[in-house]
């Protein structure tokens, strides 16, 4: 199968699927290796974007998906009377970011970081398909743990989580120095106790 035919095959399969398709499945049917599928998909995606076509090709992890191009979102919404994707509130963004950067997370963890109840917002994000449950934590109570979805990657315009913007290190100098102080105190105390213990023997 030449490159052109492979690109068209990918296009046909992704169009028909609608949803994300693992590149490996296309590779095995086309009789090529997965990397060739990724290369052809990249070339197809570049072509769509360079030629300002109405569709775009999105890669999330090892899956490929066709979507309508964001440039024409307005027309798509008008013609198809679609609901405009709701904007994320600051609260939703914060919860989503905690899930994204510290995943997998429990609801309790999110609440611990934010300091307020976040169950409603977690529910909203679940409903919108931006996060999903991915098992339970093996501790008492067996709380559900959550991770972000393929839709989250697509919505952020990234291929995988490593492409998320780097989280700034906000570790306050305060906590480091506080900790160092404690360590010193413990060391001193330990030595003191050992000394006392020794003398008692």
């Amino acid at each position: 199968m030449d490159n052109k035919a492979l690109e068209s095959t990918i296009e046909a399969v992704l169009f028909a699927a609608g949803e994300p398709v693992p590149a490996g499945r296309i590779a095995s049917v086309a009789g090529v290796v997965e990397d060739e599928v990724f290369a052809a998909a990249k070339s197809l995606a570049d072509y769509y974007s360079y030629s300002q076509r109405g569709i775009c090709l999105v890669r999330t992890d090892d899956k490929l998906q066709l979507c309508s191009a964001p440039e024409y979102a307005g027309e798509v919404i008008h013609v198809l009377e679609k609901r405009r994707p709701p904007k994320l509130s600051q609260t939703s963004l914060e919860v989503l970011a905690i899930c994204a950067y510290f995943q997998p997370v429990t609801r309790a963890y999110v609440e611990q970081v934010r300091g307020v109840d976040s169950s409603y917002t977690m529910g909203v994000l679940l409903e919108r398909g931006l996060i999903e449950s991915c098992g339970r934590l093996d501790v008492p109570g067996r709380p559900t743990i959550y991770k972000t979805t393929d839709l989250f990657l697509r919505s952020m315009g990234i291929t995988n989580l490593s492409e998320l913007p780097k989280l700034p290190d906000m570790t306050s100098q305060d906590s480091i120095s506080k900790l160092n102080g404690i360590i010193e105190a413990i060391k001193a105390e330990e030595n003191g106790q050992l000394a006392i213990g020794d003398s008692e023997d």
Binding site: E19, P70, I98, F102, R154, S172, L179, I182
Partner: protein, 260 residues
């Protein structure tokens, strides 16, 4: 003290469970196993020194460890100190732990809040892509075989057939086995129609004489019968000879229907 025992009830139940840990707790265990002593006898300053050395190494490798450092150290202090303290002191320790946890969460939350504008920008573009519903799959599914086998599997299958039948009889004694592929009636019909179309008015005898083998004669005989019964050819007698001719210029639609 070759086999260290870990007094970490509530944290580690079995040694198998340890395999699942990564990060701070696994580090504690690693350090504990290096010292090969019980945590009760652990000299915390030694552990801390080791840990700080580890942190330094991680930082040299440019790994992001700052928040992990806080978590790790608090766990260490907690485990060790609980074994040393009593009464009010335990409470104090718990307060200390809580305050450290809070600090850690506060730091994480500050980072998260700092990153949200960037995420919002990415989202406002990325969320404007629409997916589509899947197309219904064409119900005509190609059922042709798509797996590969080793020829040896055929021999194995034969072996199991023959072992089951308790030996091998000469099958040809009961059912005649064809020695070679013989003429299909359908092919022969088409061949005859082609022949008659190119040259009208063959005699039946000529058609039989053209056959090269007994089986082909049989095929010709059956084909002529088939074609007659379907009305594609007609046989007429003239001067003692039977002539064969096409009807309707060899409309072979009927003979097409002669299938297996």
């Amino acid at each position: 003290m070759d086999n260290p025992t870990f007094h970490l009830e509530g944290i580690v139940k079995t040694r198998d469970e340890m395999q699942d840990f990564s990060g701070p707790l696994s580090l504690i265990l690693m350090l504990l196993s290096k010292n090969k002593i019980e945590i009760r006898d652990l000299k915390i300053s030694e552990i801390l020194d080791q840990y700080l050395a580890y942190i330094e190494q991680m930082q040299e490798m440019d790994l992001d460890v700052a928040s992990e450092f806080v978590q790790m150290a608090s766990h260490l202090l907690y485990i060790k100190t609980r074994t040393l303290l009593v009464g009010d002191e335990v409470e104090e320790l718990d307060e200390l732990m809580t305050s450290l946890e809070q600090l850690k969460c506060h730091d994480a939350y500050s980072s998260i809040k700092a990153i949200t504008p960037e995420l919002l920008t990415a989202y406002s573009r990325g969320s404007m892509t629409f997916s589509k519903p899947p197309e219904p799959l064409n119900p005509i599914i190609d059922k042709s075989y798509r797996y590969s086998h080793e020829p040896r599997e055929l021999l194995l299958a034969l072996s199991s057939v023959f072992s089951r039948s308790g030996g091998v009889q000469e099958p040809t004694k009961l059912v005649p086995m064809p020695k070679r592929i013989i003429y299909g009636v359908r092919e022969k019909c088409l061949q005859l129609v082609e022949l008659l179309r190119s040259c009208e008015g063959r005699t039946l005898k000529e058609l039989y004489l053209m056959s090269k083998s007994r089986s082909e004669v049989v095929a010709t005989f059956i084909s002529v019968l088939e074609l007659c019964s379907s009305g594609s050819i007609a046989i007429t007698e003239s001067g003692g000879e039977l002539s064969v001719s096409l009807v309707n210029d060899g409309d072979i639609r009927l003979s097409d229907m002669i299938t297996e």
